[in-house]
Symmetry: C2
C-alpha cells in the first residue's frame, strides 16, 4: 500500500482562513475490514459550504473537529473491496474528504458510470452544485417565462447552472460575477442576458439597467453588497431561495437581530418569499434532476467549466482562492489519476 496524505483542520480560522489553519499529514491507509472498501481519491470537490464546517457553532451540519480531516465530496476509485456491493475498479461518489485514501462501509457511496459523462461532473454540474441550482431555482424560485432571475457567482458551479436553467424556463437571466473575463464568459458562452461586475461601484444602477422590469427571483448565494443592490429592486411576489452567503462566511462580528424592520417591511409590503434550503432537503428530486440536467448538458443547453488545481497539497490555497472569488468555474482538485 502506498503512503497516504490528508489535510486536517489545524485550528479554527478567525475571519479569513490562512494556510496555518490547515496541516498536511502523511498516514498509512488502513486495510479494509469486513464489509469495507478502500477508496482512492481521484477528484476532490471544493465548495463554499466548507468554510462553515471550519467554524464551531450551530449550523445545519456538525463542524469538522480540530485535527479532523477536512470534509468534502470526492470522486473515488474502489481499490480494495470486502463489500459485495462494490468491486475493485468501481468509480464512486463519496464524501471521503481531503485525503488520498479513505475507508467506507459502502453507505452513502453512489456508483458513477464513466460512460455517461466525465466522472468529474459527479461533483459538479451533475452533482451537488448542479442539483442545488436545479432544486432551489425550480422549487423555490419558480421562474416564469418573461420574469427576471438574478444570480451571483454566475461563472461558478451553482450560479452558472441557475442562469442557464432560468433561460431554459423562458426567464431573463442576469448574472453577477467578478471581473470582465468572467462576465464575458457568462453572457457569451452561457447565454445569460447580462452580467455585471460585483466590484462595480455603480452596481445598483447597473442592475437597474439590466433589470428594467425589476427582479422576480434572486437566487442568493453570496449576500453582502450584492444582496444590498438587489434587495430594493425585488418586485412584489419575488422569491429569494437562499443557499449560501459566501460574503459573510468570514464575518467575525456578532450578528444581533436588531435590524429586522427593514427586511420585514419589504417582505410584508412586497409579499416576498425568502426561503433557505440545503440541497439535501430536496433529495426526492434527485431522479428528476439527473434526467433533466443530463439531457440539458448533452443538448448543450447547460455548459459547465472546471477550474482544476493539481495535487492534494494544492487544496488549501485553492479553497482560500475560492472564498475570494479567484476561481472561474467549478473548483476541483486533481488528487489522483483516473486510473492508478
Amino acid at each position: 500500500m502506498s503512503q497516504g496524505k490528508r489535510i486536517v483542520l489545524a485550528s479554527r480560522p478567525h475571519g479569513e482562513p490562512t494556510s496555518a489553519n490547515f496541516r498536511l499529514e502523511d498516514y498509512t491507509p488502513p486495510a479494509p475490514g469486513a464489509g469495507e472498501v478502500l477508496l482512492r481519491t481521484i477528484w476532490l470537490s471544493l465548495d463554499p459550504y466548507m468554510r462553515g464546517r471550519m467554524n464551531d457553532g450551530p449550523s445545519y451540519a456538525a463542524p469538522v473537529p480540530v485535527n479532523g480531516v477536512m470534509e468534502g465530496g470526492t470522486v473515488s476509485e474502489v481499490i480494495a473491496s470486502n463489500n459485495p456491493g462494490f468491486a475493485k475498479g468501481d468509480i464512486v461518489l463519496s464524501r471521503a474528504g481531503w485525503q488520498t485514501h479513505a475507508l467506507s462501509d459502502g453507505k452513502g457511496l453512489a456508483k458513477i458510470d464513466p460512460k455517461i459523462a466525465p466522472i468529474s461532473t459527479a461533483v459538479g454540474v451533475l452533482g451537488m452544485p448542479g442539483m442545488t441550482a436545479y432544486t432551489g431555482l425550480l422549487e423555490i424560485g419558480k421562474p416564469q417565462p418573461g420574469e427576471t432571475v438574478v444570480v451571483a457567482g454566475a461563472s461558478g458551479a451553482v450560479g452558472s447552472a441557475v442562469g442557464q436553467i432560468a433561460k431554459i424556463k423562458g426567464a431573463r437571466a442576469v448574472g453577477i460575477a467578478g471581473g470582465k473575463d468572467k462576465c464575458d464568459y457568462v453572457t457569451r458562452e452561457l447565454g445569460f442576458d447580462a452580467c455585471l461586475d460585483h466590484r462595480d461601484p455603480d452596481l445598483a444602477a447597473k442592475l437597474k439597467e439590466a433589470c428594467p422590469k425589476g427582479i422576480d427571483v434572486y437566487f442568493e448565494n453570496v449576500g453582502g453588497a450584492v444582496f444590498e443592490a438587489v434587495y430594493p429592486q425585488l418586485n412584489a411576489f419575488a422569491r429569494v431561495p437562499v443557499c449560501g452567503l459566501i460574503a459573510h462566511y468570514n464575518d467575525r462580528e456578532a450578528r444581533a437581530p436588531k435590524w429586522a424592520s427593514s427586511i420585514m417591511f419589504a417582505i410584508l409590503t412586497k409579499r416576498l418569499t425568502f426561503r433557505g434550503f440545503i440541497v439535501s432537503d430536496f433529495a426526492a428530486m434527485h431522479g428528476d434532476f439527473l434526467r433533466d440536467m443530463s439531457q440539458w448538458v448533452r443538448e448543450g443547453k447547460v455548459k459547465y467549466k472546471e477550474f482544476v488545481t493539481e495535487g492534494l497539497d494544492s487544496a488549501p490555497e485553492a479553497f482560500m482562492g475560492l472564498l475570494k472569488g479567484a476561481n472561474f468555474g467549478k473548483q476541483l482538485v486533481r488528487v489522483g489519476p483516473d486510473k492508478a
Copy 2:
C-alpha cells in the same frame, strides 16, 4: 337628508399619530346618481393597516390623500338605491371609510345576511381579520399536529383567530398579549396553551419555557421586541407568515438594508420560510374561509370579542389606542344604529 359627518386626514403623522392628524367635518350627503346607492354606516372597522395608509411612500396600497376621508371597512345600510342590485334596507359590507354616509356604484359591495351571524362579524371574525388569520396560517404557516404556533396580538381580531385555528389543526398555540387580563382571556376563554405578556422583561426566557420544542410557525403581525424574542427560537423549517408590523408603523428612522447577514444566516441554516402576504392575495380562498370559519364560530371552536366605541367622533382616539395596544378584541366604532 340628515347632516353627515366624516373624518379626514388633516396632516400626515410623524411617528405616532395625534388628534391633530385628524379633522371631523360636517357635510351634506349627496343624493345617489344613476346606478348608485347611498349607504349609511352602522359599523366602522378599525385596523392596524390604516396607519400605513396615513403615510406617503411606497407600500401595497395608495396612501390616503391629505384632506381625504380616512379609509376603512364598514357594515352599512342601503338607504337609497338607484342600482337594481341593491334595495333600500340591504345590509352590505363596504369600504365606505370614516364617515356616516357614502355613495357607491355597487362595485365591491357584498350583501350581508343578518340571519347568519351578528352583522359586525362581517368586518371581524367572518371578515378581513378572520380571513387574514385563516389564509396566512393555513397557506403559509401550514401548522402540523404537535407543532408550536406563536402569535402576538393574541387577544386581537387576527391573533385570536390564528391561535384558535392552530388549536383546531392540532398544534400548540402560544399567544403574546399586553397584560394579565388579556393573557387570562387568551388562555381561559380562547383555549391557547399559554400566553405571555410582551411587556415582560424576560419575554425570551418565558417564551422558551412556553415553547419547549421550539417554534415552528410564527405568525408575524407586530415585529419589534416580540420578533426579536421569537427569532432565535425558530426551529429548522419554521414558517413566518408576515401580515403586519404594528410595532414599526410609527418608526421614523430610515431603514437601510445594512443588517442582512443575521436574518439571512438564520434563513439559510434553519431553512426558514419568510413570506409576506395581504389577505387579498388569497381572494380565491374566500369560500373555504366562510364555510370553515362560520362553522367553527357556530360550534364555539372560534370565539371572538369586540371592543366598541360609540360614535364616529370616537374613531381617532380609538385608533390611536389600537396602535398602542389599548384595545381588547376586535376594534369597532358604532357609527349608527342597526336600524335607522
